[in-house]
Symmetry: C2
């Protein structure tokens, strides 16, 4: 089966339409329409990032991850490959999705609800900062791979291009707030800002956060300093 | 085994200590200490409320719920009895705790994460407002009980005494905001106010909300209008 390009995110379409309509009407842009880029908020279900060596231990020598679905960040994808995680108390999470491409470090990102199911207290960490965290065992069809550490709850964060950072008046490492509307509205504080010229504006929250507010494609969202 | 009285909630002890310390120092009370009652925030894991008829169908004729643990609201308890819920797609949640005493209506309260596991979209409802909601089948050691409706995600809410309502300047049916601090702080909007002379001041949130902010006994909380 050929890998299909994902259809554009609803927030992207809405942003384009909003800008076009205000331009056509010759009216001043409201703040949301004036932003250089649409605000996309995506819920990351539990997943892992692996090194090529880990992928080969789990799926066989020379194995390359295959694309299941392209993600919003350029070049990032959910792989067809999944693994089974065995936690420190021998409890299991199966069908843990691998995100590609391979990285230089092995990291499993879970929600607290998953941590409770596994029976341990997840450390809250910025992605990549895994020193002193708990490890576990991964199982794939080709073998096992032991992680000495790297199981975390990822700190909620927003990816942005330097243009977005300028617009919002923030810099890498700052914290912002994400307001999510709807009938069970919440505001997520301590949203870590990550800036890189390769990034598209996108907030990543986990399933606990997404389910707390029942985030849907049409739920209103606002990123504030 | 005798049923033990629960030890007082940390928020209750802190409130008493705070009031005593300020009084002793002869200093004016800060707002949190001046409140008539401590603010207790509890996470409700998935559970159900049942009629006596449902309990008898599930556990046998004449069966009475037994107390596993007293809850913060006077006379309310987690029962020793649990049931298995079979959802509309035949998926199962086992060990669903019954809360007692029996009520005049059958209601299952789940988090959205549970709804996803069961494979259906939970309606968000104030407790008791179950008209038009989905039903399911309950299984107990003594038999089955069919619920034609009553499976919901309960709207986050705060129980309060009229004294608390006066202090916060709200009335039954109003909405408040709960600010929860810590490293993954959130603010929960649309917190339904429920007022009754029998109520103690207590916020009930579900496991998605509690895990989104990793609520711990020492996490700072504040209820605002």
């Amino acid at each position: 089966m050929a890998v299909m390009a994902s259809s554009p995110h609803r927030a992207v379409v809405e942003h384009l339409v909003r800008q076009a309509v205000y331009q056509r009407l010759g009216k001043p842009m409201p703040r949301a329409a004036a932003a250089p880029n649409p605000l996309v908020v995506n819920v990351s279900a539990r997943h892992c990032h692996l090194t090529q060596a880990a992928v080969e231990a789990l799926f066989g020598k020379g194995h390359q991850l295959t694309v299941h679905k392209w993600l919003y960040q350029e070049g990032q994808f959910a792989a067809k490959e999944t693994v089974t995680l065995v936690g420190p108390r021998s409890r299991v999470i199966s069908n843990l999705r691998i995100l590609g491409p391979c990285r230089t470090l092995n990291q499993v990102e879970l929600a607290y609800t998953d941590g409770i199911a596994l029976g341990y207290d997840l450390p809250l960490r910025a992605s990549g900062n895994i020193k002193g965290t708990i490890g576990g065992m991964l199982m794939g069809p080709g073998g096992f791979f032991e992680m000495p550490d790297g199981i975390i709850r990822a700190l909620r964060h927003v990816h942005m291009h330097p243009t977005d950072a300028d617009y919002y008046g923030v810099k890498a490492g700052d914290q912002m707030k994400l307001k999510i509307g709807g009938p069970c509205a919440i505001a997520l504080e301590a949203m870590l800002v990550r800036v890189d010229p390769s990034f598209k504006l996108e907030v990543h929250i986990d399933t606990d956060e997404g389910n707390a507010c029942n985030l849907q494609p049409d739920t209103p969202v606002e990123l504030v300093k």
